[in-house]
């Protein structure tokens, strides 16, 4: 039979199955906590309390989520073209230059919104440029993008160390970072959103780039599902042979998609640099590029799934910090374990529970389904 699994209702496909996968990932993580000798129930309580229990916690959760929305969208766009961009980490890192340079040049005289605009363009261009080379190599030379983007993460890392230590570090400073930006190099925080709800955000660096991330989620949706370019990207992703048949120029689409992906990853740099530290530091990306892979997998490469998935990982980061503070037995690496488990269950083993669920819904809606199949024939 050509149709091993029949169609499921959308809410099952996009809601229930990811939730089940997530629940299993957390259950296994709970076992790890148990093995360390702590109570998983208390850990879960601490995590939720830490992430959502008070204003500052929520602010941090959303601050982290902002990073993951950008990198998650980056991975998702490439997925739609059948490309696995693992280079979000490096693309975001290099894009730091696209943020920091405009800030360093303009913060003395331009207003913040002009600096912001320049930094958006700068980060997107730098990220896109860093993704262009692997994209070009894939399109023209067939060098696998997974390999090249991984390699480019290492190159980015070394390059940025050089730039920060030898070029951008102010004379006489000991820290490998740029000077602090003046006020117009800093993004407004979104305290007002919290004030509406009557919550105090405290010192959390939740800022304007969160709204930019939501806008980009909308843009990604529109580009992928509503434009001719998106149509060509999806055709390539589902069936390169159909794309060849349709006369879609494959190398062009691969390069454009990788650049879009790199641009989205690059825009992540706005959040920590302009929104939080107000300077560019070593390793400011902090793994967000890799978390983006898990976010895109969990979110089924759809912006509507990616935003909540990013918030979930924001919660893991923020709540995880809280756990490691309260339970010294559990280090922050626990989050990496949970992340790995989510990738395992939501990505690699995505279809593990699907046959059982399909069978369950088949018995539930048997009579109705028989009718629709008769109609299909």
């Amino acid at each position: 039979m050509s149709v091993p699994y029949a169609k499921l209702p959308a809410w099952v496909d996009y809601g229930l199955i990811p939730l089940i996968n997530l629940a299993v990932a957390f259950a296994v993580a709970g076992l790890v906590v148990l093995a360390v000798g702590e109570s998983p129930v208390r850990a879960a309580g601490l995590m939720i309390q830490g992430a959502f229990g008070y204003g500052e916690g929520i602010g941090f959760t959303l601050y982290y989520a902002t990073n993951f929305i950008f990198t998650g969208l980056a991975v998702a766009v490439a997925f739609h073209c059948g490309l696995f961009n693992i280079g979000g980490e490096g693309q975001a890192y290099v894009a730091g230059l696209g943020v920091a340079l405009p800030c360093l040049w303009l913060d003395q005289f331009a207003p913040w919104y002009l600096v912001f605009l320049a930094a958006i363009v700068g980060s997107a261009l730098a990220g896109a440029a860093w993704a262009l080379i692997p994209g070009w190599l894939q399109a023209k030379r067939g060098s696998h993008v997974v390999i090249t983007t991984i390699m480019f993460n290492f190159i980015a890392s070394s390059l940025m160390v050089y730039v920060l230590v030898d070029v951008l570090k102010p004379a006489g400073s000991m820290a490998p970072q740029t000077r602090a930006f003046a006020e117009s190099g800093q993004l407004p925080r979104l305290d007002w959103m919290f004030s509406w709800a009557g919550v105090d955000m405290g010192g959390a660096p939740f800022n304007l780039s969160f709204l930019l991330a939501l806008v980009m989620a909308g843009v990604v949706w529109a580009v992928i599902w509503r434009t001719r370019l998106g149509y060509e990207i999806r055709t390539m992703g589902h069936s390169p042979r159909a794309a060849a048949y349709a006369g879609i120029r494959q190398s062009r689409i691969i390069i454009i998609t990788m650049m879009m992906s790199g641009a989205l990853a690059g825009m992540m740099a706005l959040n920590p640099i302009m929104g939080d530290q107000h300077r560019m530091q070593l390793d400011f990306v902090g793994g967000a590029g890799f978390v983006g892979i898990a976010v895109a997998l969990m979110g089924r490469s759809h912006p509507v799934g990616i935003v909540p998935a990013a918030i979930l990982f924001g919660m893991l980061y923020q709540g995880g910090a809280e756990i490691s503070f309260e339970m010294p037995q559990i280090s922050r690496d626990m989050i990496t374990i949970i992340q790995g488990l989510v990738i395992l269950f939501a990505g690699a083993l995505e279809n593990m529970f699907r046959p059982a669920i399909t069978a369950f819904f088949a018995t539930l809606g048997g009579a109705r389904a028989d009718k629709s199949i008769a109609a299909a024939e």
Partner: protein, 511 residues
């Protein structure tokens, strides 16, 4: 003695929402050839997969030799004496015949003893059933007919008493098919039981003793072959009366619309698949290219439609050259009036994960009437798709349904509607009815003839000789990348069969 080899009672199988087999009962008498016929998606393959242990039935029992048998996996099927020859051969291409036959039955970690034994056993089988094949030949160097023989030997080597053959003649020339049927008769005489799955009515009539017809997951009838007719079987398969013969008037060829000169095409391994091929297609005629699959037809189609680059040669479309050796671009050719229905509709002609309306613009998605600036005009696309759905009777009539959920025939209609409704000057069609149910075949054939009568030049490639003979006005036969002859469509099947097998042009040889 029990004379029933296999009995199925109440076999039921669902895949999610698809009810593939509904309460199937079947009994196959020992020492007979039993045909199972039905349209694509009727559930034949599912039923055989259950019998061979690939799937488990949700309900029902299998009796082998009168004993209730549980078949959990193919090993259990082999143990019960059931062997299967798959439609797509399961052979290791770079192993020898002997190695393939031993595969999975090596008996010990050290191969030597096993090899000697296998060689003897193979010799015995060959003599007993007249299944000669060189045990030391490498599989990929053997013609398809012999590869199939190896599959049969493999099953016999494992002690099969019951042999299932799934669409065995799909890749064979008529002569090879006849040879296969002789082998089957031989096996029958030795007391083996054979289950032959096919959608070709003629084969059923030619070799089977009994035939069971499946439709929409149900077993609708079992007949003694001698007491039934092609017409009755076709009606049972489809559930209504079908026109098996295509009605068409004489062609009135006009100007040359497509001209191919000395075209040579190489595949990715660097082998010449099309060798110095030349022909013309005129307005208002259907030129059919007959041949066994894999003799260069696919590469020819791809080169003409701009998907694959040719090495040398010239192609003229309405008198203007197509840059086939360089940057021929499928979308440019579409604009110039060449429509292409590709052989592989599932991977090339359609994106199965797209919804119907998205597929109805594939390749034409740069047409301004589907666009608003850089955005797709979803309303216009859906409206256009709805029109085509009506005109081509595509079911279910829902442009938002995922394409994978349409049946093979309806998928093909989606492609045909897209390509034919553009009013092209030249229509290039590969395997128009592969995997398409009988009811839809009639519809598709009618449309192709309508295109011809509307003055289009039609180039038709098909491995179904019947289809070529009933549709084409001129038949070209392709063998090993070359066109080995041109014939009228009413030429005997035997003569065309010889050409397809590479026997050089008999007329020229006589001169």
């Amino acid at each position: 003695m029990n004379d029933i080899a296999i009995e199925l009672k109440g076999i039921d199988k669902k895949f999610g929402l698809v009810h593939a087999n509904k309460n199937i009962n079947l009994s196959v008498r020992k020492g007979t050839i039993h045909g199972i016929i039905g349209e694509n998606g009727a559930g034949k393959s599912t039923l055989m997969s259950i019998l061979y242990g690939f799937y488990q039935a949700d309900n029902g029992d299998i009796f082998v030799d009168g004993r209730k048998t549980v078949i959990r996996d193919p090993n259990a099927a082999i143990a019960a004496g059931i062997g299967m020859v798959h439609q797509h051969f399961m052979l290791v291409e770079n192993f020898t015949v002997l190695e393939n036959i031993m595969l999975g039955a090596e008996e010990s970690q050290i191969l030597n003893a096993g090899i000697t034994k296998a060689r003897q056993e193979l010799k015995r089988l060959e003599q007993e059933y007249e299944l000669e094949v060189d045990p030391d030949a490498i599989i990929e160097e053997l013609p398809v007919g012999l590869q199939q023989r190896v599959e049969i030997l493999k099953a016999l080597y494992r002690g099969a008493e019951i042999l299932i053959l799934d669409e065995p003649t799909g890749v064979l020339t008529p002569a090879e098919a006849d040879h296969l049927f002789r082998i089957l008769e031989q096996l029958k005489e030795q007391g083996k039981t054979i289950l032959l799955i096919t959608h070709k009515l003629r084969e059923i009539m030619a070799v089977t003793d009994e035939v069971s017809v499946m439709r929409r997951g149900e077993m609708v009838a079992t007949r003694t072959t001698a007491e039934t007719s092609v017409e009755e079987l076709a009606e049972l398969m489809v559930g209504r009366h079908v026109l098996l013969h295509v009605e068409k008037g004489p062609a009135s060829p006009g100007e040359v619309m497509l001209s191919v000169e000395n075209l040579t095409v190489r595949d990715s391994r660097g082998v010449d698949m099309v060798r110095n091929v030349s022909f013309n297609v005129r307005a208002g005629e259907i030129v059919g290219i007959a041949g066994v699959a894999g003799n260069g037809q696919s590469e020819l189609l791809q080169a003409i439609s701009g998907i694959r680059r040719a090495v040398t040669g010239k192609v003229l479309l309405q008198g203007e050259p197509i840059h086939v050796t360089g940057k021929a671009d499928p979308s440019e050719l579409r604009h110039r009036g060449l429509a292409h229905v590709p052989e592989d509709r599932q991977h090339m002609g359609l994106v199965l994960k797209f919804d119907e309306s998205e597929n109805s613009i594939l390749g034409y998605h740069d047409d301004p009437k589907y666009l608003k600036g850089m955005f797709l005009d979803i309303d216009a696309i859906r409206k256009d798709a709805t029109n085509k759905i009506e005109k081509y009777d595509i079911r279910p009539p829902n442009p938002r349904l995922k394409t994978a959920n349409f049946s093979g025939g309806n998928q093909q209609k989606i492609v045909l509607a897209r390509e034919m409704e553009r009013d092209p000057a030249v229509l290039v069609i590969g395997q128009p009815t592969r995997g398409v149910d009988v009811g839809a075949i009639e519809f598709i054939h009618k449309r192709i003839i309508e295109m011809r009568d509307a003055g289009k030049a039609v180039l038709l490639v098909s491995v179904e000789l019947d289809e070529i003979r009933s549709l084409a006005d001129r038949v070209l036969v392709m063998f090993d990348g070359r066109i080995v002859g041109e014939r009228a469509p009413d030429t005997s099947e035997g003569e065309l069969g010889l050409l397809m097998a590479g026997v050089e042009d008999t007329k020229e040889a006589a001169q």
